[in-house]
């Protein structure tokens, strides 16, 4: 994992002091709220419906045990005893007091954490595959590149007041677990015909009210040119992106308006003028950062441990968890364990301070002190010995963290919705809670397989509904909460945007309606098809009928 050096620590100390001074000037009235707004946003501080919300960056989703304990401390000391993991691998605290923010920031800084660029019209916290470094199909570890991008983008003097927010995601595997095609820039490490590793660069993806799948503007970018090329893209966007309308300001609108070819041409022209300048990455820099991500020294473990086999036969609950929450690791004898933050009936992504502390202890015992955060709002222990799986499962179960539903129907993504957010039209969390219970029951009955349900409380699409196999969008109809249903979206390597199925459904009908759609799929599916495959094969008509009957 990346560890701060003296420079990082000194930088962060200055940044914490600077923000403390800005908060003091706001509290004294020297700064107006309008002037303070971008300053607090660039430090992750929002003003929500009921209180301030503090968003802490978890760079590319990697947490040490110390960092997890620091988050638990902030939850306990400055918030209501829990935190919320978001779809961008960050953590949000929803009940923070402005006066206490500087001290919370200082506490987090001691654990090498901060809220820098988790909000505002700047380059946001960079996200990555949660299985980075351990996925069997990985070509190269994306975290090295995320860290390089983190450093380059931190307080970038030219790109801190962009037309709109800017999100970058990196994947190093053919199977995309980082949803790179719905980011402002998606980077995919791959091999060219000569066998060299470089980046496919995709630009202009995004969800929100105008969803687009990103377009490839460069098939292969040599690694040492990554930062100069990113700087060229950002410079083109900073100058040409629209600033007259907040809803048309993302780079996806510019890419759509000018066309991907024209954007590629403008970026290329800019890049040619600076590609061999100060941003060209020397191999020594890449190597120095790579050493932070060297794999742990894995002791040799039995790839077929008898205690695992025995537990699987003895305990069907363990067997079920093993099937849904445990994935193969690149090192024999080890496994990747996903920890669901979607127990049935609970708000997706929430984690109590007690759970965080306990997970920190478990990560030290079973995962080399490392935890990952996923964009599906779950956690991962990336390095678990297979022989430890039964005891880890028992420990997680005691913490109510062993829900066996990763990738299944009740593993729902949802935004905070009207319960917290001032932008929302409708509640997301209670719908996720009720739907999770209902679909969980259906799943046990029919073994639904991989099914992604995503819920957004408004058109800003923080719950990624456009790329849910089933997406729900909260809309306001004469002051009442309704939900528009989209089907057929995906954020994976087969990325697509869902299509609206029909008229929106009222709050008290939405759970029944979605359940009916899923039952319809059960009747139509052929040989192990996922919901998405069935929908793509048969089309919308049978689902439309069910929508009309149910609503």
């Amino acid at each position: 994992m990346y560890r701060y050096d003296e420079f990082d620590h000194d930088f962060l100390a200055e940044r914490v002091a600077q923000f403390g001074d800005q908060v003091a000037r706001r509290l004294s009235g020297e700064l107006t709220e309008e002037e303070f707004r971008p300053l607090r946003l660039m430090n992750g501080l929002y003003l929500q419906l009921h209180a301030y919300m503090l968003r802490i960056a978890i760079p590319y989703g990697t947490l040490s045990a110390t960092q997890l304990r620091a988050l638990a401390h902030v939850a306990r000391r400055y918030d209501n005893g829990y935190g919320h993991f978001t779809t961008r691998q960050n953590m949000q605290f929803n009940w923070i007091k402005l006066e206490e923010v500087p001290q919370a920031m200082a506490d987090l800084a001691a654990a090498e954490m901060h809220g820098i660029q988790t909000s505002g019209n700047c380059i946001r916290n960079v996200t990555a595959d949660q299985w980075a470094g351990v996925a069997p199909d990985e070509i190269e570890d994306p975290r090295v590149w995320c860290e390089i991008i983190r450093q380059w983008s931190t307080l970038h003097p030219e790109f801190s007041f962009l037309p709109r927010k800017f999100k970058i995601a990196v994947t190093g595997s053919p199977h995309d677990r980082a949803a790179v095609r719905v980011h402002d820039i998606g980077l995919r490490l791959h091999r060219n015909e000569a066998g060299e590793i470089g980046f496919e660069v995709m630009v202009g993806g995004g969800l929100g009210r105008t969803p687009y799948i990103a377009k490839t503007i460069r098939e292969f970018l040599p690694k040492q040119d990554l930062l100069s090329y990113l700087e060229a893209i950002l410079r083109v966007y900073n100058q040409l992106g629209r600033r007259d309308n907040i809803y048309k300001a993302r780079i996806k609108i510019l890419v759509h308006a000018l066309g991907a070819e024209k954007i590629a041409e403008l970026v290329e022209a800019e890049w040619q003028q600076m590609r061999d300048g100060a941003l060209k990455l020397p191999q020594a820099t890449i190597d120095a950062i790579s050493t932070h991500f060297a794999p742990p020294d894995y002791p040799t473990r039995d790839p077929m441990p008898p205690q695992l086999m025995a537990a699987r036969l003895r305990d069907p609950d363990f067997a079920r968890w093993l099937r849904s929450n445990v994935a193969p690791h690149r090192v024999p004898g080890y496994a990747i364990v996903s920890i669901s933050l979607k127990p049935e009936g609970a708000p997706p992504g929430d984690c109590t301070a007690g759970q965080m502390d306990a997970l920190a202890d478990l990560s030290e015992r079973y995962s080399f002190g490392e935890t990952r955060v996923t964009h599906e709002q779950n956690l991962v222990f990336p390095h678990v010995a297979q022989e430890h799986l039964p005891e880890l499962w028992r420990a997680l179960d005691a913490l109510e963290l062993a829900t066996p539903n990763i990738g299944l129907a009740s593993d729902i993504i949802a935004c905070p919705g009207l319960d917290y957010c001032s932008l929302a039209n409708a509640r997301s969390i209670p719908v996720a809670q009720h739907l999770g219970q209902r679909l969980g029951a259906l799943d046990r009955q029919h073994d639904l397989g991989n099914l992604q349900v995503k819920i957004s409380g408004c058109i800003n699409a923080c719950g990624h509904h456009h790329v849910g196999h089933i997406g729900l969008l909260g809309v306001d109809k004469n002051g009442e909460e309704f939900y528009q249903i989209t089907l057929g979206g995906s954020a994976a390597d087969d990325a697509s945007l869902g299509a609206i199925l029909g008229p929106a459904v009222a709050y008290d009908k939405v759970v029944d309606t979605v359940a009916s759609l899923v039952e319809g799929y059960v009747g139509l599916r052929e040989n192990g098809e996922r919901f998405l495959d069935t929908y793509r094969r048969v089309g919308a008509a049978p689902f439309k009928e069910r929508l009309n009957a149910a609503r």
Partner: protein, 168 residues
């Protein structure tokens, strides 16, 4: 508007001339890009310093061949959240090699000064709060990760020569 240069309040040597006003016979003047384009040769032939005020959509490249004859380039922040002038500043300094005064005008607040300096600005039209807090704001963050106009940044240096030689 107080004007800060080299960390101190200074008197403004430049007079901004509106597009429809007559040019004075002598004295340092600045004009809009539009007027610069229309009256370039008479402005250069005036035998007094001339500067240009660029809007955010005016192309900096159009000044390329005259930069050694221009005394000040003023770039605009119509709102302090509008960051186009940062790109214009870097292009003027790094691409076009401009060495003269580069001034931040408009909604210039003290919490943006560090970004401006690193993008190549060297004079700032600030408000009273910016003038009073100028030194503190400029000293708030002394560590920079990325290369920019006035320094190479640490991303490259600290992993290569600086580290090898033991320097911080």
């Amino acid at each position: 508007m107080p004007l800060v240069k080299d960390g101190a309040l200074v008197a403004d040597a430049w007079t901004r001339i509106a597009d429809d006003a007559a040019l004075p016979g002598d004295g340092a003047v600045t004009v809009s890009f539009k007027r610069w384009e229309a009256e370039r040769s008479s402005l250069l032939g005036r035998n007094a310093p001339v500067g240009v005020f660029l809007g955010n959509t005016d192309p900096v490249e159009a000044l390329a061949s005259d930069l050694n004859r221009i005394g000040v380039v003023m770039l605009d922040f119509p709102k302090y959240t509008d960051g186009r002038a940062y790109s214009q500043a870097r292009l003027l300094r790094e691409r076009l090699g401009y060495r003269g005064e580069l001034r931040a005008t408009g909604n210039v607040l003290r919490d943006q000064l560090l970004f401006m300096r690193r993008s190549g600005f060297d004079t700032y039209e600030v408000d009273e709060r910016g003038a009073a807090g100028f030194a503190a704001s400029m000293a708030a963050v002394t560590h920079a990760y990325q290369p920019a106009t006035n320094d190479a940044g640490m991303l490259l240096r600290r992993y290569t020569s600086a580290r090898a030689s033991g320097a911080k």
